[in-house]
C-alpha cells in the first residue's frame, strides 16, 4: 500500500504549550481521510506542518514520497481554514494567477479550464467581477476551485464546510466525492463529525494535540458496540409494553420517547438476543439497533466525564484500545 502522507513522532510547541505531541499518522494513497477533533485540537497545526508552512520541533514527515511539501507543492491542493481572496482582483484573473503559481502554463488551455470551472460553479457571470463583489458562499467556491484547478494528487481541505449554507454544503460534498473518485488522496479536517461520517473511509481523531483514534469507519463501528435499541410499538397496545420490555433479560433500562422506547442494554448482553426476544414477545412496528455516531465515539473517548484527570485517563485508555485494535487487525 503506497502512502500519500506519513507522519512519525511529530511534535510542535508554541511557547510552553504543546500544539501537537508525538503524532503518528499514515494516509494511504487514494483514501478520503477525515481529520477530526474539537476546535484547538491541533488539526490546523498538523496540516500546516504537512504543507511545510510551519516546521515541527521534532519528528519526521513524508509528503507524496518527499521529505517536505515544498518539493511537491504543485501536486498538492490546499484550502486553508484561514482562506481569502484578493479583494480587488477579478475572479478569473485570481484563478489564473493561483493556477500559474501552482505551475500551470498560462494561455488558452488554462483560460478554458478556468471557464469550465466557473461554469460548474454557476459563476460564469462573475468571471469579470472583482472578488469583493461576490457573496461569501461564492467566494468559498472560488477558493475551492483555486485549490483544485491544477489537478493535484493530494488535496488538503481544512474546515471546508464552515460558513457554508446547506445547499453549498451539499455541493461541496459532491465536489469532494468527485475529486475522490478521480483518484485523489484527500485529507479533510472538520470539527463537525457527521460531515466526516458521511464522506470518509478513514478517520483520524485528535484531542489536545494527541491522537485518540486512527481507524477506518468500519473498524470504528465494529469496535464501539451499539448499546441502544429503539422500539416503536404497535399503537393499540402501547401502554402495557413498557413494563414488559423492562422485564426482558439483558435490558438494563427503558426510556420512554415520543415515538416509543429506548432500551439500554445491560452489561454483557447480546443485542441480537435481546432484539429477538422483543420481536417474539411484543407487538412492535419497528425495532432498530442504533448505530454509533462518530460524535458518540468522540465524546465517549474524550469528553464524557468532564474532569481533567478522568479525561486524561480515558485518553490513555483510548490510545490503548486503538493499539489493541490495530494489533488485532
Amino acid at each position: 500500500m503506497s502512502t500519500a502522507v506519513t507522519i512519525q513522532g511529530l511534535t510542535k510547541t508554541f511557547g510552553p504549550k504543546y500544539a501537537v505531541r508525538d503524532l503518528d499518522l499514515v494516509v494511504p494513497t487514494g483514501s478520503l481521510c477525515g481529520f477530526i477533533g474539537p476546535n484547538g485540537a491541533g488539526k490546523t497545526t498538523t496540516i500546516r506542518m504537512i504543507m511545510s508552512i510551519i516546521f515541527p520541533d521534532s519528528g519526521q514527515l513524508s509528503v507524496l514520497g518527499r521529505p517536505s511539501a515544498n518539493d511537491s507543492k504543485d501536486r498538492i491542493g490546499y484550502l486553508p481554514e484561514e482562506r481569502g481572496v484578493y479583494r480587488k482582483m477579478k475572479v478569473a484573473a485570481f484563478l489564473t494567477y493561483m493556477a500559474r503559481l501552482k505551475g500551470q502554463d498560462g494561455g488558452a488551455a488554462l483560460r478554458r479550464k478556468v471557464q469550465q470551472w466557473l461554469e460548474r460553479m454557476s459563476l460564469t457571470d462573475s468571471a469579470k467581477k472583482r472578488c469583493e463583489e461576490l457573496s461569501k458562499g461564492m467566494q468559498q467556491k472560488v477558493q475551492f476551485v483555486a485549490a483544485v484547478i491544477h489537478e493535484p494528487d493530494l488535496l488538503i481541505l481544512d474546515e471546508v464546510f464552515s460558513g457554508l449554507d446547506p445547499v453549498n454544503r451539499r455541493l461541496m460534498r459532491s465536489l469532494i466525492d468527485e475529486q475522490h473518485r478521480a483518484g485523489r488522496t484527500i485529507i479533510f479536517s472538520t470539527h463537525a463529525m457527521y460531515e466526516a461520517e458521511q464522506l470518509c473511509d478513514r478517520i483520524f481523531m485528535i484531542h489536545r494535540g494527541v491522537k485518540v483514534l486512527d481507524a477506518t469507519l468500519g473498524e470504528i463501528r465494529g469496535r464501539f458496540d451499539p448499546r441502544l435499541i429503539i422500539v416503536e410499538p404497535d399503537i393499540q397496545n402501547g401502554e402495557s409494553i413498557g413494563p414488559r420490555l423492562e422485564s426482558l433479560p439483558g435490558v438494563g433500562g427503558v426510556h420512554t420517547t415520543r415515538e416509543g422506547f429506548e432500551l439500554h442494554l445491560a452489561e454483557g448482553a447480546d443485542p441480537r438476543a435481546v432484539m429477538g426476544a422483543i420481536v417474539r414477545d411484543t407487538p412492535v412496528r419497528r425495532v432498530e439497533l442504533k448505530r454509533v455516531t462518530l460524535e458518540d465515539v468522540f465524546i465517549s473517548l474524550v469528553d464524557s466525564s468532564g474532569g481533567e484527570g478522568e479525561t486524561a485517563e480515558q485518553l490513555r485508555a483510548a490510545i490503548g484500545a486503538t493499539g489493541n485494535q490495530e494489533a488485532g487487525a
Partner: protein
C-alpha cells in the same frame, strides 16, 4: 522557483501601478506642485495697498527739507523706479549669466524682477510732503500725533472724495546732519498710524535718508573744498561686484551658484520619494494579504521567502518607475532651461545604485512590518525606526551639501541605513568624494541591505501566519531567533 517570484512580482507591480490612486498620485503630485508654486508667485505679483496723503516733515537742520520735497516729486519717483529696475536687472543678469540660460528665459526672469520692483515702489502712490515750520512747538506735534492715531490710511486711499490724511510725521534732528566728527549722527524720528506697511516705511526712510546724506556731503566744509558732489561720493563708496568662475581640469566654467546646491537636494528628495512610495506600498499590500486571509492560500503555492522576494521585486519596479518618471521630468526641465550640464550623467548611475541599496534596506523592513501586523494602524509603532532613518537625511542635507568632504559627511557616509542618502548628496555636490569612499559606502550599503533582507525574511516567515496582538520590537527579535 524564479517563475513564481516573477509571477508574484508581476502581480504586485500591475496591481499597484494600474490603479487610479497610483496614476493620480504619481502624475498629479508634480502638477499640483507646479500649480502651487505658480500660485504663490502670482499672489506675490498682486499689488499691495497704496498709500496716498501727506507726509509731515519737521526739519530741525534747515538743509534737508528741500531735498526731501524733491525726492517725493513725481519725476524723482519715476527716476527712482527706473534706477531700482536697472539695479535689479543688472543683479539678475549677473546671476543668470553665471547659470547660462537661454535668452528668452533671461528676458522672462528680468520681466519678473521688474514687476517685483514696480510692485514695491507703487505702494507709495502719491505722497506730498508738508514741511512744517521750524518754529513748530511740542503742542502742535502732539496734535499731529493725535491725528495720526485716528487716521485710516486705507479708507483714504480707496475713496478720493475724502480729504487727504496725514500718513506720517518725520522729525529730522539737527544732529542728523551736523555732528562733531567724534560723535555719531543722530537717528531721525518717525511716527506712523497703524497698518502702515513696513515696505512703505522702508521706502520713505530710504528717500529721506538719501536726502540727509546728500545734505551732509554738501554741508561738510572739507568735501565742499574738494568740489566732490553727493553723486561723486556715492560712486566712490559703491562696493565692487565679483565675477565668479570655477576652475576645473577641463578649463574654466561659470559657477552655477545657488542652483548647484539644489541639485543634491533634488537627488536626495527623488531617492526618498521613490524609496518611500514603493516601501509604503509594500507595507500596504502585505497587510492586505494578511487581513484578507489570502496569505495562507499563497503559502500553499510558494514559500514565504519566495513570496517576500517577489513582492520586493515587484515594488522595486514600482519605485524605479517613479524614479524614471520624476527624474525624467526633472532632467527634461533642466534641458528646457539649458541647464542639462548641471547634472553629471554618472550621478544618475549612482542614484540608481543607491536607490537599489536604500530600497532593499527600507523595503525589506516595510515587508517585515507588514507581515507582523494585521492592520495598518498597528504598523505605526513598528515604523518609528524606519521613519527615523528616512527623516535623518532631511536634517543632514544642508550641512552635507555645504561641506561634502567634512568629517561629519565622511563619517555619515558609513552609517548603515542613512548612507545611501548621504552619498547621493555628496556625489551630486560640488566636490565629489574620493572614489574609495564611494566604493566603501556601496559596500557598507550592500552589507546593510543583505542584513535587513535576512532579518526581515525571518520575521516574514513567522509573521505572515500570526494574527491577533501586534508584536513589539522584542517579540520581533524573538521571532528572528525562532525562525
Amino acid at each position: 522557483m524564479m517563475t513564481r517570484i516573477f509571477l508574484i512580482a508581476l502581480r504586485e507591480f500591475t496591481s499597484t501601478v494600474l490603479t487610479k490612486g497610483f496614476i493620480i498620485g504619481v502624475l498629479l503630485t508634480p502638477i499640483i506642485m507646479v500649480v502651487a508654486i505658480g500660485g504663490i508667485a502670482m499672489t506675490r505679483n498682486l499689488k499691495g495697498p497704496q498709500v496716498t496723503g501727506t507726509l509731515a516733515v519737521l526739519d530741525r537742520t534747515g538743509v534737508v527739507s528741500s531735498g526731501i520735497v524733491e525726492r517725493f516729486s513725481p519725476e524723482a519717483a519715476a527716476a527712482e523706479i527706473s534706477a531700482a529696475q536697472r539695479a535689479v536687472t543688472q543683479a539678475i543678469d549677473k546671476t543668470l549669466d553665471q547659470a547660462p540660460i537661454d535668452p528668452a528665459q533671461k528676458a522672462m526672469a528680468r520681466g519678473m524682477a521688474k514687476g517685483e520692483v514696480d510692485r514695491t515702489l507703487s505702494k507709495i502712490g502719491r505722497l506730498t510732503v508738508n514741511v512744517l515750520p521750524d518754529t513748530t512747538d511740542d503742542a502742535t506735534i502732539q496734535t499731529i500725533k493725535d491725528a495720526l492715531a485716528r487716521t485710516d490710511i486705507h479708507a483714504a486711499a480707496k475713496d478720493p472724495s475724502l480729504p487727504e490724511p496725514t500718513v506720517g510725521l518725520i522729525i529730522v534732528p539737527r544732529e542728523a546732519v551736523f555732528s562733531a566728527a567724534s560723535s555719531p549722527y543722530q537717528e531721525i524720528q518717525s511716527f506712523w498710524p497703524e497698518k502702515v506697511d513696513f515696505e512703505i516705511r522702508e521706502r520713505i526712510h530710504r528717500r529721506i535718508g538719501d536726502a540727509i546724506v546728500d545734505a551732509r556731503v554738501v554741508t561738510d566744509p572739507k568735501l565742499a573744498a574738494s568740489g566732490l558732489s553727493a553723486g561723486d561720493v556715492r560712486r566712490l563708496l559703491e562696493r565692487p561686484g565679483a565675477a565668479d568662475k570655477v576652475v576645473t581640469q577641463h578649463g574654466e566654467k561659470e559657477s552655477a551658484g545657488a542652483l548647484q546646491m539644489m541639485i543634491p537636494a533634488a537627488f536626495m528628495a527623488l531617492l526618498l520619494i521613490a524609496v518611500m512610495s514603493s516601501g509604503q506600498m509594500l507595507l500596504t499590500t502585505t497587510i492586505e494579504e494578511k487581513s484578507s486571509r489570502v496569505m495562507e492560500v499563497l503559502l500553499s503555492a510558494v514559500s514565504p521567502l519566495q513570496l517576500m522576494l517577489g513582492k520586493i521585486v515587484g515594488q522595486l519596479c514600482v519605485g524605479l518607475l517613479i524614479l524614471v518618471i520624476y527624474s525624467g521630468m526633472g532632467i527634461a526641465t533642466l534641458i528646457v532651461f539649458s541647464m542639462g550640464h548641471l547634472v553629471d550623467p554618472f550621478a544618475i548611475v549612482y542614484l540608481l545604485f543607491f536607490f537599489l541599496i536604500a530600497y532593499f534596506i527600507i523595503g525589506s523592513m516595510f515587508a517585515a512590518i507588514g507581515s507582523a501586523v494585521t492592520e495598518l494602524r498597528e504598523a505605526q509603532t513598528l515604523m518609528t525606526p524606519v521613519m527615523l532613518v528616512v527623516m535623518t537625511p532631511w536634517l543632514l542635507w544642508l550641512p552635507i551639501s555645504r561641506a561634502p568632504n567634512s568629517t561629519l559627511s565622511q563619517v555619515l557616509s558609513f552609517v548603515p541605513g542613512i548612507n545611501p542618502f548621504v552619498m547621493v548628496i555628496r556625489l551630486t555636490g560640488s566636490e565629489p568624494p574620493p572614489t574609495w569612499q564611494t566604493l566603501a559606502a556601496i559596500g557598507v550599503g550592500l552589507l546593510t541591505a543583505a542584513f535587513c533582507a535576512w532579518f526581515s525574511a525571518k520575521i516574514f516567515r513567522v509573521g505572515v501566519l500570526m494574527y491577533g496582538k501586534p508584536p513589539n520590537l522584542r517579540t520581533l527579535v524573538k521571532w528572528v531567533r525562532m525562525a
